[in-house]
């Protein structure tokens, strides 16, 4: 069965913004699908609201719609494009849900669009828990006892019957949102209430607990001819009870005999066939009782998933790419294996290494949330590591996390060992190691954790070797055999250095002297049975190096490591583009990264891929082998920047802006002097190391002040203080954070407009300003958490001119070659510099899409010595043909109990873009895409602090004009009433009942505008209102400027039709003239 010729145009649905549970793995799968289908001659139309993705690049699809993934906008795309088919399986749960919605609303039938990949019936059978159970029973697969309930009473009744603990899983929610484990009646009632609420169909499955059972996943593929294969088996390090996205996982499965594995394989294939996924990849999860081998099926996903991305990277078998080909009619045996070139894709990859995935959490960003892991996914990113053995892979994985804790620097508390082992939490692995170091036996640790003895023994061996290093050897006298054994056990130079009390570079020199150097092995899908033609490499301390570096001109790109808040897909976008650009310029591209979700770690993206931790040791190993002509550090966010200076010192050629100048911009003193020299103003500032000193500095600057520790990322632990009490209280907490590093204090410019600028600069001093983005939230909200708009809507021409001039002067002063980002605050017409980052910023993909100018590509050209004028005739500031709003997406629904008010600490996980002919339209689309759709009518509730009372009255007027009813807390209501508007007074939480929270729960408020004290010291009742707004999915706006934007957006929704534009249409005339 070759490709279907009856299909010509195929619509691919992406997965939208990065959220917990749905991250850039779907950019990887979507981008692969786009590429595969276009290579086959299909016309590809794409819809995805996330501008930071590679897949939404205008050259990946024929038409790219960065539009909301909602029924009406998707229907409009279909109406306009008339695709023949819709591929539903590469856009995660979001893509699948939207496909189902389109089918159920009759849109697909109306326009004759065929659903390919998974049919509606199959999706329903897999997703609907009742149908799934029936289907699995029919084919004889064992299941936990369970029942679907839609009320707390029914839930309690069933739980009494099967006994506690029980697992709760709301139907149709992402990443297990709203689920949990109930150990008693109280837990059950609590979780069930939320779960029923969060489930779009108001159903929750209550299930027999299989806590402590072994957990496995199989990645399965099937073609239209019913050929089916297993791509990869994965075993979870943590037993059942921890969401698989929050578990350390290992490929291949390590503790199953062949008979048990084949039983699971048979079950997975039977499941796939019974569900009726006729083409593509699926993921099937099983649990096994370690006592007697009873095996139950947990769930299956009839689409590519996070695990399939992991499996693709772990095996070299590109699941999404093949899934796309199968969806258009190919059979598995008609597709070649890219890596061996000779053998077909219809086989089961076998691997001769071990892969470990470790999640990355950021509970510290969400004070008030308990750092405990359960059935609801909490991690924001993950790393994957490949080693010849489990121990090597685990060691590399821990280093890849970049927590600074991987080498035993963290202090673990003896009295917490048992608690940390019993309850799954982010530090559990560290505590297991600590427990062994403190003499716990494997059996003791097993009984506390239920982790498989084989895994525990491996961890134990690592701890033992680490212990031995310090006892049995020293750097000058270590033998070759010893050093080789340590490295083969996965120990880093840093670990050895600590044991030997020398520097890591000394260790490096010593082991090289002994001939203990890293070699590189290939990921080849076949355990070396066939020759590999794809340089997809990992390091080891084996005997033979398979890297075979070329003698071409080559440049190495350092990636951004695991996704985390503040450093995510935007940087992967830049790295991938850097790679594409290098290839276009005839330079070999070498990618180094350790994040399995990304496009950058697709072996297809770069000429050569090193799947390695981004540590100095590992990067230097690669440099020793590859000897690159240049290394690019400015695209991967903070991760490569921290390596820039040490790499330069080690003689590695860094291209682009000099690392010294990157560093200068981060050094407050030196940078302050530079600004003085350039006569560019910045907010008055100072620093302090003592409480009293801080209060003194704050007093001399004048309140409010912005206080933060030095050397932090993503606005970590930053607050705005309006009085000395706050500063004093903060200092008492912050000093613990920053130890002897000073606390930085800036005069905070109240009600200033914040502006983000991305610019390109070349070696001749030419500067091109790519975008001047105006933030919608006022200064004080972290730039990553603020919506912003291109073009700026409220800046005067002279302000723009000032910004341009400052940016040019800064770029020249810092000798920027490539990209630069500057943050400004504009207050009363004056422009202040807040921050300069001489590197690619989070906004680069957004600006590239809004302007139609590929910034990373030009930046790479500049680093290779080209000039801006080689790429474009444009000078000054690039123009944008429409309004483009970028809005952040927050994970607050995953962290119940956390105050969702915006502040200087970044907490958004992703972003969306809205396009419109006017600001309101673009903003409305962005809000819709961000999952915070604004109401068309109803009641707006205001509760604002004194500073905002006047503005609130004016705003209320505009809402009233649009037909909204107004409600407010007493103080706010007074001001509104004075303005002559009818207003309903609502109690604050502590004033009586019914209060604002009651009204929210009752559904009688449709929009909340709530400003007040933000951050850690907000009053409990204010938090309660914001929190219940989040959990009841009522949009909650916490800044006045945000509220003003919302009014415009609502006005646009009333006025403007549902309309969509593809990026190709938007930039059609400009694309050819401005960029070569």
């Amino acid at each position: 069965m070759p490709r279907r010729n009856d299909l010509h145009r195929i619509l691919i649905v992406g997965s939208g913004p990065i959220v917990i549970g749905q991250a850039c793995e779907f950019d990887y799968s979507g981008a692969q699908a786009c590429k595969a289908l276009r290579q086959d001659g299909y016309e590809v139309v794409l819809i995805n609201s996330n501008p930071a993705t590679i897949m939404t690049d205008p050259n990946l699809a024929d038409r790219t719609y960065v539009e909301p993934l909602s029924l009406d906008y998707a229907a409009e795309v279909i109406r306009k494009e008339r695709p023949d088919a819709l591929l539903s399986t590469v856009g995660g749960q979001t893509g699948l849900n939207l496909s189902v919605a389109l089918a159920e609303a009759g849109v697909l039938d109306k326009y004759g669009v065929e659903l390919i990949g998974a049919k509606i019936d199959a999706i329903k059978k897999a997703e609907d828990r009742l149908l799934f159970k029936d289907a699995m029973r029919k084919i004889g697969l064992d299941l936990p006892q369970s029942q679907l309930v839609n009320s707390v009473e029914k839930g309690l009744e069933f739980a009494n019957k099967i006994g506690y603990p029980v697992i709760l899983r709301p139907s149709f929610t992402l990443g297990g949102t709203g689920g949990g484990i109930a150990y008693n009646r109280e837990d059950l009632a609590d979780i069930l209430e939320t779960g029923i609420d969060l489930s779009p169909v108001h159903e929750v499955l209550i299930e027999e607990s299989v806590l402590g059972w072994k957990e496995f996943e199989l990645e399965v593929m099937r073609d239209l001819a019913d050929n089916a294969i297993i791509v990869c088996s994965i075993e979870n390090f943590y037993p059942m009870g921890v969401h698989t996205g929050d578990s350390i996982t290992v490929a291949p499965a390590q503790t199953l005999t062949d008979r048990e594995y084949q039983m699971m394989r048979d079950g997975a294939l039977a499941c796939l066939r019974e569900i009726g996924v006729d083409t593509g990849g699926s993921n099937v999860q099983f649990a096994i009782n370690p006592e007697n081998g009873r095996m139950i099926i947990i769930e299956m996903n009839p689409r590519v998933s996070r695990s399939s991305a992991l499996a693709s990277k772990a095996t070299g078998f590109p699941i999404a790419k093949i899934a796309a080909k199968l969806a258009v009619g190919y059979r598995l045996d008609e597709i070649k294996n890219d890596i061996t070139r000779k053998t077909p894709a219809c086989f089961e990859p076998t691997i001769d290494y071990v892969v470990v995935k470790i999640p990355r959490w950021q509970f510290e960003k969400f004070p008030g949330s308990e750092p405990v892991l359960g059935t609801q996914m909490k991690s924001v990113g993950e790393v994957m590591a490949i080693g010849r053995t489990f121990k090597q892979a685990l060691g590399k994985g821990m280093r890849s996390l970049e927590t600074g804790k991987s080498d035993g620097a963290t202090k673990y508390q003896d009295d917490l060992i048992e608690a940390r082992l019993i309850t799954p939490n982010p530090e559990r692995l560290g505590y297991i190691r600590h427990a062994f170091a403190r003499g716990y036996t494997e059996e003791q640790v097993r009984s506390l954790t239920s982790i498989d003895p084989w895994f525990l023994h491996q961890v134990r061996e690592i701890v033992d070797v680490e212990h031995e290093v310090g006892q049995a050897s020293a750097c000058p006298t270590v033998t070759r055999d010893q050093a080789l054994r340590y490295k083969r056990s996965g120990l880093s130079d840093t670990t050895l250095a600590r044991a030997w009390n020398v520097s890591p570079l000394t260790v490096r020199a010593r082991r090289k002297e002994l001939g203990v150097t890293a070699v590189f092995n290939r990921v080849d899908t076949c355990a070396a049975e066939f020759e590999s033609f794809t340089p997809y490499l990992y390091s080891s301390y084996e005997s033979e190096c398979e890297a075979a570096p070329s003698d071409r001109k080559k440049v190495m790109i350092l990636g951004s490591g695991p996704n985390r808040i503040g450093q995510g897909i935007e940087f992967d976008y830049c790295c991938c583009h850097a790679s594409f650009a290098l290839q276009e310029f005839g330079v070999e591209s070498i990618m180094v990264n350790c994040n399995p979700e990304t496009v950058s770690t697709d072996y297809d993206t770069s000429d050569r891929l090193y799947f390695e931790p981004l540590t100095l040791e590992e990067v230097l190993n690669i440099c020793d082998t590859e000897k690159p002509d240049g290394v690019i550090v400015q695209f991967g966010g903070q991760t490569p920047l921290t390596l820039a200076l040490p790499l330069k010192t080690a003689g590695v050629p860094i291209i682009g802006t000099d690392p010294e100048n990157i560093d200068l911009a981060e050094d407050r003193k030196r940078f302050g002097k530079l600004l003085d020299d350039l006569k560019i103003p910045a907010p008055a500032n100072g620093s302090a190391t003592k409480v009293d000193e801080a209060c003194e500095v704050a007093r001399s600057l004048g309140y409010p002040v912005l206080v933060r520790p030095s050397y932090v990322l993503g606005g970590r632990a930053m607050v705005i203080a309006y009085d000395e009490d706050t500063v004093r209280r903060y200092m008492q907490e912050a000093v613990i954070f920053s130890q002897d590093r000073p606390v930085l204090i800036d005069r905070f410019l109240e009600d200033a407009t914040e502006v983000d600028v991305d610019a390109l600069a070349d070696s001749t001093g030419a500067v091109l300003i790519a975008g001047i983005m105006e933030h919608i939230e006022e200064a004080g909200v972290h730039s990553g958490d603020s919506s912003c708009v291109l073009p700026a809507t409220s800046l005067a021409p002279e302000t723009i001119a000032t910004i341009r001039s400052y940016t040019e002067r800064l770029a020249r002063a810092l000798n920027v070659i490539g990209l630069m980002n500057v943050q400004y605050a504009v207050k009363d017409g004056a422009v202040y510099v807040l921050e300069v980052n001489p590197r690619a910023s989070r906004t680069v993909p957004y600006v590239s899409k809004a302007t139609g100018v590929p910034l990373p590509k030009i930046a790479v050209g500049l680093m290779l010595g080209k000039k801006i004028s080689d790429f474009t005739d444009a000078t000054g500031v690039l123009s944008v043909p429409q309004y483009f709003v970028k809005s952040p997406v927050f994970p607050f629904n995953k962290f119940p109990g956390v105050d969702p008010a915006l502040g200087p600490e970044m907490r958004s996980t992703g972003e969306v873009m809205g396009v419109g002919e006017n600001f309101g339209e673009a903003f409305a689309k962005a809000q819709l895409s961000a999952g915070a759709p604004l109401p068309d009518k109803g009641r707006v509730f205001f509760s604002v602090n004194d500073r905002d009372k006047l503005a609130a009255a004016a705003l209320a007027r505009r809402f009233a004009d649009l037909g909204f009813e107004i409600a407010a807390t007493r103080g706010t209501a007074d001001g509104i009433r004075k303005a002559g508007l009818p207003v309903k007074v609502v109690f604050k939480v502590n004033e009586g009942r019914p209060n604002a929270v009651d009204l929210l729960k009752a559904g009688s408020l449709d929009l909340v505008v709530y400003t007040g004290t933000t951050g850690a010291h907000a009053f409990a009742d204010e938090k309660a209102i914001r929190r219940s707004a989040v959990s009841h999915r009522i949009p909650c706006i916490t800044t006045m400027s945000g509220a003003r934007a919302a009014v415009e957006a609502i006005a646009s929704r009333r006025r403007d039709p549902v309309r969509v534009w593809s990026l190709q249409e938007i930039h059609a005339p400009a694309a050819e003239t401005t960029v070569s």
Binding site: G140, L141, D142, A225, D226, N227, I229, S233, P252, A253, Q254, T255, L256, T257, D258, R259, E260, Y261, Q262, M263, R265, D266, P290, E291, N292, G293, R294, M295, I296, L332, D333, K342, T343, P344, C346, F347, E348, T350, I351, D352, Y353, V354, R388, T389, F390, D452, P453, W454, H457, R488, C526, A527, A528, E529, F530, E531, E542, S543, E544, E546
Partner: protein, 374 residues
């Protein structure tokens, strides 16, 4: 840990640690790429005369148990792995894999760069080697490897075959309370199975499908087989080169047409020779559990388990008498055929799996159908 050395006839030497019996063995060095099923590999008599390299770097993790044995003992000459687990973790485990191998006197070398060794064998072809946990003198071991017998022309099947005829009625047993195997069929057919190095799972599968089995030694004559009045005849897998098995080929030639015949692996090669075909040695063989085989009758692909160093040359078979039914999609080697004029069919790969996928279990059903028709 004590050292152990693997020396190849071409002079290549790999040094590691000894982890099994303190012994020294020579054999043909071959590699298997299956991820699971080391115990089945250890006990597959087809590995007689071979030192096995496993590409999965973590071996021994789940220990060993009696019910996963494919024969009465470990038949591999020696084992080469990257890392061997000292402990076993599995509810079915009865002893550690190390104890299991030591009990059969099999030497093990761990800690060597198994991938480099596999790449070496892949490009140079399989070769003789000596695995020693006794001597560590490379020169001496290389010399021993060079003087050891070559696989080609060696009759190993007779050596590993049962010496006595025996009955087999045990079907497949589930490995978990959740495994659905279906009720074993009642024994309807009497099958005489030639043991050239029989794997037990073939017997279990045949018994499960409704066969009462009489297993006979490799040297049994056609007349003796027919005297047992079989409803069907089975030719098993086994080690080594099929060409020296002239006696067995001659018996099979006499049996063709007398009763339905089903052959697996070496059994397939014997049918090939009996049908007038030729066999040849593959450069590095097929050993693994992931080979795609195209069933030409249904057009579907089966993921199959393999263990063979020799193959039947499809061009040597007369197309008017032989229909090719299965081909390997990796390298276009012959994987199965049937005779057009007689109820005889055979496959090169292992439908009984153990280890490996169960995609080809239907072949046992095909054998039953063939007997039903006859």
């Amino acid at each position: 840990m004590k050292p152990a050395v693997l020396a190849l006839e071409d002079g290549t030497v790999f040094e590691g640690q000894s982890y099994g019996a303190p012994a020294e063995r020579c054999g043909e060095v071959v590699f298997n790429t299956a991820i699971t099923g080391y115990q089945e590999i250890f006990t597959d008599p087809s590995y007689a005369g071979q030192i096995v390299v496993l590409t999965n770097p973590q071996i021994g993790n789940y220990g060993a148990n009696d019910s996963d044995n494919e024969s009465r003992k470990a038949f591999i000459e020696g084992l080469v792995v990257r890392e061997f687990s000292p402990l076993s973790s599995n509810w079915r485990s009865e002893e550690t894999a190390r104890e299991f191998l030591a009990g059969s006197g099999v030497p093990v070398v761990t800690g060597i760069d198994a991938r480099a060794l596999v790449r070496h064998l892949r490009s140079r072809g399989v070769m003789r080697g000596v695995l020693s946990a006794v001597s560590t003198s490379p020169a001496e071991l290389i010399e021993k490897a060079r003087n050891s017998p070559s696989m080609a022309g060696l009759d190993l099947a007779t050596r590993v075959s049962t010496s006595e005829r025996y009955e087999w009625n045990t079907p497949v047993a589930p490995c978990s309370p959740s495994q659905q195997l279906g009720e074993p069929s009642r024994p309807r057919f009497h099958v005489v199975a030639y043991d050239f190095g029989m794997k037990r799972n073939i017997l279990r599968r045949l018994a499960h499908s409704g066969c009462r089995l009489t297993v006979v030694p490799a040297q049994t004559s056609a007349e003796d087989v027919l005297a047992l009045k079989p409803d069907g005849i089975f030719l098993s897998n086994g080690p080594g080169d099929p060409e020296p098995l002239e006696y067995q080929v001659a018996q099979v030639r006499k049996l063709i047409g007398k009763a339905p015949i089903f052959g697996i692996c070496l059994g397939h090669q014997i049918v090939g020779l009996a049908a007038g075909g030729k066999t040849y040695k593959l450069k590095f063989g097929h050993r693994g559990a992931n080979h795609p085989v195209l069933n030409k009758t249904t057009g579907k692909v089966e993921i199959t388990s393999h263990n063979h160093g020799f193959a039947v040359d499809p061009d040597s078979l007369n197309p008017s008498e032989v229909e090719i039914t299965h081909m390997n999609l990796n390298d276009d080697t012959l994987e199965g055929f049937r005779l057009r004029n007689h109820p005889v069919f055979c496959v090169q790969y292992h439908p009984e799996a153990a280890p490996g996928p169960h995609d080809s279990h239907y072949l046992f059903g095909d054998f039953i159908k063939l007997m039903e028709k006859s």
